[in-house]
Amino acid sequence: MTILATRRDILRTGAATGAAFATLLLVRPVMAKPEEMEAAIRAFTGSAPVAKGKVELVLPALVENGNSVPLAVNVAHWMEPNDYVKTIAVFNEKNPQPNVATFHLTPRSGRASVSTRIRLGDSQKITAIAQLSDGSFWVDEAEVIVTLPACAES
């Protein structure tokens, strides 16, 4: 007399199916990966070292609507004719494209502070990098949690 399936067998198969479902759920939609942000940053900075400081990236920590997120970047550096903030570039981790915006400043900007509104497709890390006229790079990062991401309707 043989028993086709013991209680233990059924439990075992159940656990296996559960694991298979979990891996299916982990498959994410097509979005840029953090490596793409790294690549975009490398394309901007070249091989120059990027130091922390000077830059202040202002973003809300918790965002309700990813379709419009206020973003401001301030760089604590003077704007003298021969020593000024040349470029401010903003990058994201998980939108379909790693670039957000690149601002080109001149000594006539008077102050290195810009602001705009951006879209966020997911909770992620935003990076702002400032390039000074002497070629040095400065960075600031911010983590943002998005409750309703942009592009959710499509």
Binding site: N95, G110, T116
Partner: protein, 106 residues
């Protein structure tokens, strides 16, 4: 012609840093969305914004699909002399719109 909103202080002291706020109505279609027929809607965004002060460029920006519809940009410039600020937006269809604002420096 798209509607624009430009906020420049009408008067400023010489050497003062003034803040300029700009907004233009534009759908900023990302090129990642699908239409009702399932096909991708072609990208149409404003990819370039520039500001000149009496003919000299003082600020410019390269924009990407991560910028919201109706892009809003603020930046600063030093009020050096009375004159005109010309702001221009260029989109993927090749259209450029230029708007001007007057500033009086005392």
């Amino acid at each position: 012609m798209a509607r624009t909103l430009i906020n420049v202080p009408p008067t400023a002291k010489r050497g003062e840093v003034v803040e300029i706020k700009t907004l233009i109505s534009h759908p900023m279609e990302t090129g990642f969305r699908t239409g009702p027929d399932g096909a991708l809607i072609p990208r149409d965004i404003i990819h370039r914004f520039t500001c000149t002060y009496n003919g000299e460029e003082v600020f410019s920006a390269d924009l990407f699909p991560a910028i919201t519809a109706n892009p809003f940009i603020t930046f600063t410039t030093v009020a050096t002399e009375s004159g005109e600020l010309a702001l221009s937006w260029t989109d993927d269809k090749g259209q450029t719109q230029t708007e001007t604002a007057k500033i009086t420096v005392e």
